[in-house]
């Protein structure tokens, strides 16, 4: 007999109660048998975020091979991308956008807004996956991948800080364009080893104003976007640039970009500076709170990202090695998918670990290890994203 499948929905899973029907993956492989008890809300969320199906007819063991679900399901869904392909697409869009950014005919202004909307839409359900994918995108040009990272971080922090969706669009746009005033120099500086020349130093110190002028040149009128770019290097104690503004004179969106931009720069290596570990970055942000950066926003950011942010590789107390997939219940206990077992053997399918449990707590951060199926495992770790966010 053939089976009929449909996508698993919220109503199919009740925490603490047995599953009424078995759960299968796309190929029809049984994942959870009828009667299995989903133990926690967290487990339920993870299940619902995967592309899994239930068989509408429970049957006794059949000897006939099942037809793949892809043959049974009408393809009605919007085309989707893995978080990595989404990041690759948007990285390329940003790279192309900035090539002709100054040309008023290129429509850069509208393109940035469209990108900001994509980021906002995609982040609603995929913030962790997208942040992880950007974190793992280590082979990209510095400026565009950092701009994309800052845009995603602005959406995450802006949302956590209580800004509404409309208010967050100019914030994300400012995050994407905050370094437009030194785009080319930033790329050259990535590989520098010598100290900055006086000329380069002055150029960097004036990039917020030049960024604003460029944005005005391409037709940006939004005061928040313009002011945010101009103020993103101002610091609450007046030690920033270009104007040395202090306290309430630094607008909230500029405070948010300041944190996102500082963090993103810290955790990426540059010619003159090694990559910082996230815990060191969080330490520096925390110790600057109230002096240079907004204390409340700093704490919200640390809570949002955790001490082990999505995309980092960690070793657990069990000896297993995994990837942080989400921020979990608190800053020190993120969600982790294990890809290498305690004996050092690569796994074919990632296993979720709750790092609140002491035996699976995080012991250390590592570089991404060699693994024969790493691309497949990573692509399956986060749900797929609609092409346009």
């Amino acid at each position: 007999m053939s089976r009929t499948y449909r996508r698993l929905t919220d109503a199919d899973v009740q925490v603490g109660k047995p599953l009424a029907l078995s759960v299968h993956d796309e190929s029809g492989t049984l994942l959870l048998k009828q009667g299995y008890i989903v133990a926690s809300e967290r487990q339920k969320d993870r299940l619902l975020n995967q592309k899994v199906y239930i068989s509408l007819v429970e049957e006794k063991a059949s000897t006939k091979p099942m037809r793949p679900i892809s043959e049974l399901l009408p393809e009605k869904e919007i085309p989707t991308l893995s978080v990595f392909d989404w990041v690759e697409n948007h990285y390329q869009l940003l790279q192309n956008l900035y090539l002709n950014f100054n040309d008023p005919e290129a429509g850069s202004y509208k393109k940035v807004l469209i990108l900001a909307e994509h980021i906002q839409r995609a982040s609603q359900k995929h913030s962790n996956g997208l942040l992880a994918a950007v974190q793992l995108a280590t082979d990209k040009a510095y400026s565009p991948i950092k701009a994309l990272h800052v845009g995603l971080l602005c959406e995450a922090l802006g949302s956590r800080a209580g800004l509404n969706a409309t208010q967050r669009i100019p914030l994300i746009a400012a995050g994407l364009t905050c370094d437009i005033g030194m785009w080319k120099l930033q790329e050259q500086l990535r590989t520098r080893e010598a100290a900055l020349t006086d000329e380069q130093f002055k150029y960097i110190r004036s990039h917020p104003q030049r960024g604003r002028q460029l944005l005005e040149h391409i037709g940006v009128l939004d005061a928040v976007w313009l002011q945010t770019v101009e103020q993103h290097h101002e610091r609450l104690n007046g030690s920033g640039y270009p104007a040395g503004l202090s306290g309430d004179n630094v607008i909230q969106t500029a405070r948010i970009v300041a944190i996102a931009d500082t963090y993103s720069a810290m955790i990426r290596s540059r010619g003159d500076r090694d990559q910082r570990m996230p815990k060191e970055a969080m330490r520096d942000l925390f110790l600057s709170r109230g002096e240079e950066i907004d204390a409340t926003l700093a704490q919200l950011f640390i809570k949002e990202m955790g001490l082990f942010p999505p995309g980092f590789t960690v070793r657990l107390n069990s000896g297993e090695i995994g990837i942080v997939t989400g921020t979990g219940n608190n800053a020190s206990s993120p969600d982790v998918d294990v890809i290498i077992d305690a004996k050092g053997e690569p796994l074919k399918r990632a296993i979720y670990r709750d790092t609140l449990e002491k035996s699976y707590a995080i012991a250390d951060i590592l570089a991404l290890p060699e693994h024969p199926f790493i691309e497949k495992l990573l692509a399956d770790m986060w749900p797929r994203v609609a092409r346009r966010g």
Binding site: K279, E280, M282, R283, F286, L287, R289, G290, A295, T296, A298, Q299, I302, K303, L307, N317, N330, A331, S332, S333, K358, A361, I362, A363, D364
Partner: protein
């Protein structure tokens, strides 16, 4: 070493701060247990990571209370928080060495934090807040 009981002698009478300090006492006791039971670095790092999360949250909320009520000792108090947080972050590196001396130093640091900070500077803050009618 005996464990601490979060009784009235440790309470400052400001509900929000007391609730957080109660969690801190729990972490100190966990650390004392780990030391007495000769646990390895994994145990200490587990507690440390939770303490880092706790400390950043607790210091931020205590400082927000100080700013809200224009506490005159804000700058000094915040500086003490920074020194404590810096030292706590340093233990992340120190405990990796899996040296029993470092584990003992960690416990001593936490007890020092309790005695010098909570029972002294936080007490002054609590007295100030009570004058302002906060409880």
């Amino acid at each position: 070493m005996s464990t601490f009981v979060f009784d009235d002698s440790l309470k400052l009478g400001i509900a929000e701060i007391d609730e957080q300090h109660g969690r801190f006492i729990g972490y100190i006791n966990d650390t004392l247990d780990a030391l007495n039971e000769g646990k390895d670095r994994e145990e200490f790092l587990y507690i440390l990571n939770r303490l880092l999360d706790y400390a950043m949250e607790h210091f931020t909320s205590e400082e927000a209370l100080m700013r809200q009520h224009d506490y005159p000792g804000y700058e000094v108090h915040k500086q003490l928080h920074n020194e404590t947080a810096s030292e706590l972050f340093d233990f992340d590196r120190r405990l990796l060495a899996d040296d029993p001396e470092e584990s003992r130093a960690f416990v001593a640091f936490l007890i020092g934090w309790l005695k010098n900070h909570i029972l002294e500077v936080d007490k002054e803050l609590a007295a100030f807040l009570k004058q302002k009618g906060i409880s």
